[in-house]
């Protein structure tokens, strides 16, 4: 009997991923204009768990910094980064295209148009903004799917991607028009497009959490199906998989999750395409492992990038989208160069 490890049983990667994520989160909570020790962080968090003790020794100011400012922001980073990376991995699998990212099906253009309209009508602080961005993203992706699947003769994957290009071009044109007509909104719109994780307490975390949870759970449950899909539609069908239905479910879950996080964070690029590829280079291409690792990896990466954005040029903040690409791209290039035989 041979003893073979396969991707299902590689428990140790799960543990390492969880440790990296928790470590990054602790870093995000501890580091800042005011450095706070792990003990204070622990005491503050446990004091909010009923019956788990009190934060008696921690100053009110530190408690407020941890609980009201840093923790919601760090958790939002985990949810946004995790969702973008997981959705990116799922898109790359379902479309068998290494260049697929969470914004593939016109999600970015749709959310951009929604956000621009909301800012033009209601101003930058508008409570309408996340709702409009979410609706724009979902409408754009639905439009892409309707157009792409309508001509289902031939290659559905290619026709969906091309349909996404057409929808995105159209919506971007509309967005540019609205923006030009309301040029005083330019700065607000631009800041949204660059992406940010600034929060006003817990409301953003609360609003995206259900979407991220449901979308990630669906993608996690279907991760083996993504491996079957890697064989192509015909071989997947021959293995008994209902290809069209599964593809629709995966695309819908990834798109909804992406739309929800984009609505609060803006268009943070890079995470959804590079984190899954980085993990592929390190751990292999099986989605059974890649989907869960992408959530951990994307979450940790975005929290670390946000930490850097906060402390690089105090007291100002760098746009997080700039950080993700500026630090992420060279790191990715380094891995690509130093792992022989993977870049082909």
């Amino acid at each position: 009997m041979i003893n073979v490890e396969h991707s299902r049983v590689l428990l140790r990667w799960w543990i390492i991923a969880a440790v990296v994520l928790v470590g990054t989160v602790l870093g995000g909570l501890s580091i800042g204009p005011v450095a706070i020790g792990i003990g204070d962080i622990w005491a503050t968090i446990t004091s909010h768990i009923p019956g788990a003790g009190a934060a008696g020794t921690v100053s009110q100011a530190h408690q407020a910094i941890i609980w009201d400012i840093r923790l919601p922001r760090v958790l939002l980073g985990v949810l946004v980064g995790g969702m973008l990376a997981t959705a990116g991995a799922a898109y790359q699998g379902v479309f068998r295209n290494p260049l697929a990212d969470p914004y593939l099906l016109g999600v970015a253009a749709g959310a951009g148009l929604g956000a621009t309209l909301a800012i033009a009508i209601g101003g930058g602080g508008s409570a309408l903004l996340p709702v409009a961005a979410f609706v724009g993203a979902v409408v754009a992706a639905s439009l892409t799917y309707a157009v792409g699947a309508a001509g289902s003769r031939g290659n559905t994957v290619t026709s969906l991607i091309l349909s996404g290009v057409a929808v995105a071009a159209f919506l971007t044109a509309a967005q540019t028009y609205v923006q030009q007509r309301n040029s005083e909104t330019l700065r607000e719109v631009y800041s949204w497009i660059l992406g940010r994780l600034s929060t006003a307490g817990w409301s953003e975390v609360r609003s995206v959490l259900p979407y991220v949870f449901v979308a990630s759970a669906i993608l996690f449950a279907l991760r083996r199906m993504l491996d079957v899909l890697a064989l192509g539609d015909e071989e997947a069908t021959a293995l008994g998989m209902p290809v069209t239905r599964i593809r629709l479910i995966i695309v819908a879950a990834a798109t909804l999750g992406t739309a929800a996080v984009v609505a609060v964070s803006g268009l943070i690029g890079f995470v959804g395409i590079v984190i899954p590829h980085l993990l592929r280079l390190l751990f292999g291409a099986s989605y059974r492992l890649l989907i869960p690792l992408s959530f951990f990896g994307g979450g940790a990466f975005l929290v670390a990038a946000d930490l850097f954005a906060r402390i690089a040029i105090p007291p100002a903040e760098l746009p997080i989208g700039v950080i993700t690409a500026f630090l992420g791209a060279p790191f990715f290039a380094l891995i690509l160069r130093t792992r022989p035989g993977v870049a082909r």
Partner: protein, 266 residues
């Protein structure tokens, strides 16, 4: 037993074949031969339930259109001519995909599935490749691994599109022998398409010649592989030699075809 009745196929309104009927008995190996574009692959894909063509295909009396994709996949394994070998996927993960028809959509492999796959890897002598990436294998290794995935499906019927086309002579013989051993060991029904007529004749119980939209010859290799038939349908000059050890050998020769011998039957 596979029964195909009155099956037709067309692409963009252009008929590939029309009204084809054939029967393959359980445990039989039937090789479909015919020139390029005759519709061999389409016929195979129709039997696999992958091409929705007018006509009836039944397995043990049940129409494959009435079967769910899962049940169909539990009975029929299909290997295309150029199977996808995804970069970065290991051999063990690849062969485990053969267990898909036995898992629920949300499920993952059980210990039993893993044991089945390990036995299959041993059966095809590819256990030592388990951790290799499928995209890094040589042609012969890849063919064994792809067969292992099909066998892990535990099918009754094996449909193979050009199983030897990418292999050197030795690997061609080896692959055919493996398929034949699997067939007798598991009482598999095998339908394959092939271009190498001698090799096809050495292993097939029966040959079917598909050309011009119809089955034009059917029978034992000795009956189907005649120089006239091959000249007419392939436009090839061959000499068919009786092998003293049984069977026939098709040898290409270099002579201009006698005029009229090439009939582009369409």
């Amino acid at each position: 037993m596979i029964r195909v009745q009155d099956l037709s196929a067309s692409y963009d309104g252009l008929a590939v074949f029309e009204g084809i009927s054939l029967t393959v008995m359980a445990g039989e190996w039937v090789v479909i031969i015919g020139p390029n574009g005759a519709g061999k692959s389409t016929l195979l894909r129709s039997v696999a339930g992958l091409a929705d063509m007018p006509g009836l295909v039944t397995i043990d009396g049940r129409s494959i259109k009435g079967l769910s994709a899962r049940h169909r996949a539990q009975q029929i394994a299909y290997v295309p001519q150029a199977p996808a070998l995804p970069a970065g996927m290991t051999v063990i993960d690849y062969v485990l995909l053969g267990r898909t028809p036995y898992l629920s959509i949300l499920g993952s492999e059980s210990k039993h599935d893993l044991a089945t796959v390990r036995k299959t890897l041993e059966l095809l002598a590819v256990s030592h490749l388990a951790k290799r990436g499928v995209a890094t294998l040589s042609g012969g290794e890849a063919q064994r691994v792809v067969l292992a995935r099909a066998i892990a499906q535990e099918p009754q019927i094996l449909l193979l599109d050009e199983p030897t086309s990418a292999l050197d002579l030795g690997k061609q013989q080896e692959t055919m022998q493996i398929i034949d051993d699997l067939r007798s060991e598991r009482n598999l029904t095998v339908v394959s398409t092939m271009h190498d007529l001698t090799l096809a004749g050495q292993f097939a119980d029966r040959l079917l010649l598909l050309n011009g939209g119809a089955i034009l010859a059917e029978g034992t290799p000795g009956e189907v592989l005649t120089s006239e038939t091959i000249a007419r349908h392939y436009g090839a000059n061959v000499r068919v030699i009786q092998d003293p050890e049984g069977g026939v050998i098709v040898v290409p020769t270099r002579h201009a075809p006698t005029s009229g011998a090439v009939d582009q039957a369409r």
